[in-house]
């Protein structure tokens, strides 16, 4: 039996008369890479904000990392990591200072931060950049570092909001290798993306359209179900606007 780290039951989010999330139901398991797909405006961002404790659901039950999103958003925040499409690092701080800052914000002790920083610098082969400003780093390295910082405090879940927007294919490949490694460590990866080839790398994917989840399964199962060659075909078949 796989352990669920995210449980969403009958989630509804309304803004006035507009329903952004219409009765969502899904579970995400520990150590899984969960792809969250959907066209622009399908309601992905809204759902992501609720899951990360930024926004409160109108109705329904949302449990993230063991805490209720309506009652305990602050506790959720301590147990998740987050990285958005813009680089979430400070350009005028050095690599080390950025790590220190985020480690401190998540309440880690100084000695723990120091130890993990050294580990991280060695692992990423980053030693020569440790005291350089982020603005001097090449794009690919920034991306890797931003991801490493998002999981630096060993959260239960990491949310990646279109993490590979505007990045070259080689860096994207390397980035996904890091994602796999993270998932192997038991950290759940919840990722939104517009790249359909990336969706193929996920353990399971969900596809949203008009505020509802219209498909949810492994990429293989979905391809068979819709008689499609690739996830992209599946996506086009499902998410195409109705005539």
């Amino acid at each position: 039996m796989k352990e669920a780290v995210i449980t969403v039951k009958n989630l509804v989010k309304k803004f006035g008369s507009f329903t952004a999330n219409d009765n969502l139901n899904f579970e995400v398991y520990q150590g899984e890479i969960f792809g969250f797909l959907g066209a622009n405006g399908a309601g992905k961002t809204t759902a992501l904000r609720i899951l990360s404790g930024l926004s409160s659901p109108t109705s329904g039950e949302v449990i993230v990392a063991g805490y209720n999103a309506k009652k305990d958003p602050e506790k959720i925040k301590k147990n998740i990591g987050y990285m958005c499409q813009k680089f979430s690092l400070y350009e005028d701080l050095s690599t080390r200072e950025n790590i220190m800052l985020y480690g401190g914000i998540y309440g880690m002790s100084k000695t723990l931060i120091k130890r993990r920083t050294e580990d991280l610098l060695t692992k990423l082969n980053f030693r020569e950049y440790s005291d350089r400003m982020i603005s001097d780093l090449p794009l690919g390295l920034k991306q890797k570092l931003a991801f490493s910082v998002a999981v630096f405090h060993e959260p239960k879940i990491v949310f990646l909001d279109e993490p590979t927007g505007g990045v070259d294919p080689i860096t994207r490949r390397q980035f996904w290798e890091m994602i796999y490694e993270t998932a192997d460590r038991g950290i759940t990866v919840f990722v939104t993306t517009h790249y359909m080839d990336e969706a193929e790398y996920c353990d399971r994917i969900s596809i949203m359209s008009d505020g509802r989840i219209v498909a949810l399964d492994t990429p293989e199962a979905l391809k068979i179900q819709y008689g499609a060659e690739s996830v992209e075909d599946v996506f086009v078949k499902i998410a195409r606007p109705k005539p």
Binding site: S52, G53, S55, S56, K77, K86, Y90, I105
Partner: protein, 369 residues
């Protein structure tokens, strides 16, 4: 608390590493004080004047000497006829020409009165007014001396003007409070709105909001360094004006600093409010400049007296917080009055601060929803 301290440290690093921010924080205040104090002087000293003396007698000689020895004027030219006046003005060599017509001395003795003209360069109205006033005063003085020596002199009522609080009408008495008012709005409102919108633009704000830091910690952590630095700025300006211009602080220093803190707080909350409505740094800069800087300079009474404004401007000026702070700071520094004389303005500033904070919190909540 430890989380919070690390966050504040980061904000200080942002400030100290950005050359432009440092210039705005410490370069501009110093430069403004010195420029306004020395260059933009509203006092006249060594104003260049020319004389057109067609009479050339003892009386005109005495008056000219009196004018030139007053210390306010410097004789740069002697003209020969009326046609040269226009030329001298146009060339810009002189600010004013003093003219004695034919038979000045003769008329003075035979008829008991004579007319002289002061022709000033009206393209600089302030200087022109000052020059004519000064010359008139000197001539009045000459009249009095003349009346004293002659037996037939009339006894006239001689008004004696004294300027309270600023006897020499020094310009920097007016500019230092103005510069403090302006600098604080600039640093607090402009800089905080920029620093907060910068986080939004770079996407780091989202990461902070998702972190365990509470929104109130994020905001306070971002503005606290500016609070501290702008307070240091005020002290720097006061010390600078004390040493360079002998500007006194006649009232209570503690009251002055307390009022300054209130004003800083007001400006910071205004900066936060601007950052909640603007999506980009450009918007924030635009709003701060157009909405705050220009009105502060033009309408707060910093340079142009509010009493002389058309009524509509007066109303606009009434919603500008700097207007009230200028009154407070001038009262305390120059007149040396206590809290009883500025409580109304203080109250208005407090209400404005509360209003801005309230609006910011509301905007912030709407955004998060």
């Amino acid at each position: 608390m430890k989380r919070f301290l690390g966050f504040i440290k980061k904000e200080f690093l942002h400030i100290f590493r950005d050359f432009r921010t440092m210039i705005i924080l410490f370069g501009i205040p110093t430069a403004q004080i010195l420029i306004f104090g020395f260059v933009v002087s509203t006092d006249i000293k060594d104003a260049r004047v020319a004389f057109l003396d067609l009479s050339k007698d003892e009386a005109t000689q005495k008056i000219s000497d009196k004018i030139c020895s007053s210390g306010f004027f410097r004789r740069v030219d002697d003209l020969q006829n009326y046609n040269e006046i226009d030329m001298a003005m146009k060339k810009g060599i002189v600010k004013a020409v003093i003219v004695f017509g034919d038979n000045f001395g003769h008329d003075l003795i035979s008829q008991g009165k004579a007319t002289m003209s002061i022709i000033a360069d009206g393209s600089e109205p302030n200087t022109a007014t000052l020059i004519t006033n000064y010359v008139t005063a000197i001539v009045t003085d000459f009249n009095r001396e003349l009346a004293g020596t002659s037996a037939t002199g009339n006894i006239l009522v001689q008004p004696e003007v004294r300027m309270f609080y600023n006897p020499e009408l020094k310009g920097h008495f007016m500019f230092v409070p103005g510069v403090i008012t302006l600098i604080l709005i600039l640093i607090c409102a402009l800089m905080t709105s920029i620093t907060i919108t910068r986080e939004k633009e770079f996407g780091t704000m989202e990461v902070l909001l998702v972190s365990p830091l509470k929104p109130v910690h994020i905001i306070v952590g971002k503005v606290l360094p500016y609070f501290i630095l702008s307070f240091i700025d005020v002290i720097m300006i006061l010390v600078l004006s004390w040493f360079v211009f002998d500007l006194p602080i006649r009232g209570s220093l503690i009251l002055l600093l307390a009022e300054t803190m209130l004003y800083i707080l007001m400006s910071l909350s205004l900066g936060i409010l601007i950052s909640t409505i603007s999506k980009t740094m450009q918007q924030a800069i635009f709003m701060s400049f157009l909405g705050l800087m220009l009105p502060t300079i033009l309408l707060s009474g910093f340079i142009f007296p509010i009493e002389n404004m058309p009524e509509a401007y007066d109303w606009v000026s009434a919603i500008l917080p700097p207007r009230y702070f200028i009154v407070i700071i001038k009262n305390i520094m120059i007149k040396g009055t206590g809290f009883m004389y500025v409580w109304k303005e203080t109250l208005i500033l407090m209400i404005m601060t509360t209003l801005f904070i309230g609006l910011s919190v509301r905007n912030f909540k709407v955004r998060l929803q």
